[in-house]
């Protein structure tokens, strides 16, 4: 409770000003902090890394310092940029597939409890099957390499979307469902106007998980699909530099992956906020 019992009753005019000034100050602080603190933490993390590497004299081939990684990133950007683009493409497509086939399956599954009980286990099967083990099978029967890559990445990424969306579709308010029944809404209308909006926060939660996973999926897919030389993504660069003991470049490639992951997350968080800020508890700013 924010009631402040100590403020005296008299002197109200100056008190008022003081309070308003205080409110303003708090607001300004919070506005600055929103940006300053993450940056501060980032600087501290980098500084800590640097300190670790120098103080413990960790050789650069085991863990290069941030400066070395940055300069390698700068110098090798020509080599890495092409690979980055490949990884980005696969990631983007895999995420798209995950949305379409994860969300689509979720919609299918909520159409009937029976369908869900009959087919959901196979989604779990897909989720837990080690890609490494079945990749050869996939590549035996899928001719196009890019299709194989996408299947692998999709298998890694789709489950959170499926699972969260199913949960969301089933979490639509019962009173609203009743309302839709009263007006004789068709299955499709109920889905479109009630279940999908109600599932949105859950779906977006799944999407934020799947964003990172599709990146991982792209990397793993590349490992198992194994493309050499031209047209290969960051995973290949990592393996290759690791193999060549070019650890700084490996970390430069890792940095690109990590930056991509964080960027995907931030973009998806922003999308989430844009879509939910008007109405969902998780995105609402309290009071005004």
């Amino acid at each position: 409770m924010s009631i402040d019992p100590a403020v005296p009753m008299a002197d109200s005019a100056p008190v008022l000003d003081r309070e308003e000034a205080q409110r303003l100050r708090a607001e300004r602080l919070s506005r600055t902090g929103r940006w300053a603190l993450p940056i501060l933490v980032f600087v501290l993390v980098i500084a800590g890394w640097h300190w670790l590497v120098t103080a413990k004299e960790i050789p650069h081939y085991i863990l290069p310092g941030p400066g070395l990684v940055a300069s390698t990133l700068w110098q090798d950007f020509g080599i890495l940029a092409g690979s980055w683009l490949v990884t980005l493409t696969v990631t983007g497509l895999a995420l798209l597939l995950a949305v379409v086939f994860g969300g689509g399956l979720a919609i299918l599954f909520t159409q009937s409890k029976w369908i869900e009980m009959s087919f959901f286990p196979y989604a779990v099967v897909l989720q837990v099957t080690p890609i490494v083990a079945i990749a050869p099978l996939i590549f035996i029967y899928v001719d196009s390499k890019i299709a194989g890559l996408l299947i692998c990445a999709w298998i890694v990424a789709f489950f959170p979307i499926l699972s969260n969306t199913t949960l969301g579709l089933n979490s639509a308010d019962h009173n609203l469902r009743d309302l839709f029944s009263v007006y004789g809404a068709s299955r499709w209308q109920r889905l479109r106007y009630l279940q999908l909006p109600a599932a949105l926060p859950y779906f977006l939660g799944g999407l934020r998980i799947a964003g990172g996973l599709s990146l991982i999926g792209a990397v793993v897919a590349e490992f198992v699909a194994g493309s050499g030389g031209i047209g290969s993504g960051l995973a290949f660069r990592i393996l290759e530099s690791s193999y060549r003991l070019n650890t700084p470049r490996m970390f430069a490639a890792l940095t690109l992956i990590v930056v991509t992951g964080v960027a995907i997350y931030l973009v998806l968080s922003w999308v989430t906020w844009m879509l939910l800020r008007k109405w969902h508890e998780s995105a609402l700013k309290r009071d005004a």
Partner: protein
């Protein structure tokens, strides 16, 4: 003849490197094409399983590491045949920090053995059985030598043609080298495997590929390898001239490709005795079960034709 050019592909076990030089050479200088093959080389990689693709008929030839898998295939009833062995010796080595151990037995006293998955399944099984190495000391080799460089008390697997170079370059010391073949792991390596069906339906292609490869290897090691190296570097831009030169030198120095039977029967040659003796050894060591008919695992029809002998005499004697 051009209309009869047949397209085949060959899956290697790693990204393009000098250890595949003979095949690239034969592609580059038209040796395969001369006998009617258009060969596409499909590079492998750390998690890539080109052999599985061959089993499924997606790839015509696949590069085998050593003979163990060919024996397994017989056991599992898989109609797979080794048609040539381009490395007479297993080039696999164990690396240690300089002066750390004095002989192969001494490796057992180290605390960590950095061995890849395939290595663990093959030669390490033999090392455990024959020398009493400890499975618990093994950590996987991810083709990154940093853990080895960081830990004096470790040994790491490697190809004699690759890892010593990388470690010397990055780690700043020349590691001690323990060749497995010297310790008794007398398998052929870098074999060419194909399905029985391929042998039955297109024996000409198999013949052309095996003989062309032998000629390719001869040219690569003893002739001018620059065209092949260009292909290798195209497929794998990271491959440095220095590394290639190092590999070629080591392959020659240790007689990896050209030694023993290969000197008399041509590069890629195999003998039933060598294969049987390796199998017996593995059975004795408990790596494989007895009773596998290993003669099912290979055919000498293609490898021992001596197609490259002429050229070998010409070039290698120089």
């Amino acid at each position: 003849a051009e209309s009869h050019v047949m397209e085949v592909n060959f899956g290697t076990n790693w990204v393009a490197q000098a250890e595949h030089g003979g095949y690239y050479q034969a592609v580059a200088d038209g040796t395969y094409e001369a006998c009617g093959l258009k060969v596409t080389i499909v590079p492998g990689g750390p998690q890539v399983n080109n052999r599985a693709l061959m089993l499924a008929g997606k790839i015509d030839f696949s590069m085998g590491g050593n003979l163990l898998q060919a024996f397994s295939a017989v056991k599992e009833g898989i109609p797979l045949k080794v048609v040539a062995a381009h490395f007479q010796k297993e080039p696999q080595v164990l690396l240690t920090h300089p002066g750390k151990v004095t002989d192969f037995e001494g490796l057992k006293d180290l605390e960590t053995m950095i061995i890849g998955d395939n290595g663990f399944q093959s030669f390490y099984q033999w090392m455990m059985a024959d020398y009493g190495f400890d499975a618990g000391k093994r950590v996987p080799y991810t083709f990154n030598p940093a853990p080895f460089i960081a830990d004096e008390n470790s040994a790491q697997q490697g190809y004699i043609t690759s890892e010593p170079f990388a470690i010397e370059k990055e780690g700043g010391f020349a590691p001690d080298i323990w060749l497995l073949s010297d310790a008794g792991f007398n398998t052929y390596a870098t074999t060419v495997e194909t399905m029985q069906e391929t042998i039955d339906t297109k024996p000409d292609a198999v013949k052309c590929f095996v003989e062309g490869s032998a000629i390719g290897w001869t040219n690569y090691l003893y002739g001018d390898p620059s065209a092949a190296n260009a292909l290798i570097q195209e497929a794998n831009p990271e491959m440095s001239d220095e590394q290639i030169a190092f590999s070629i030198e080591k392959m020659k120095e240790y007689g990896i490709v050209l030694s023993g039977d290969a000197e008399t029967a041509g590069i890629g040659a195999m003998t039933a005795e060598t294969i049987q003796s390796f199998y017996d050894k593995m059975v004795d060591a408990g790596v494989l079960e007895a009773g596998i008919d290993v003669s099912q695992s290979y055919t000498l029809d293609f490898a021992n034709t001596g197609a490259s002998l002429e050229l070998q005499k010409q070039l290698a004697s120089k």
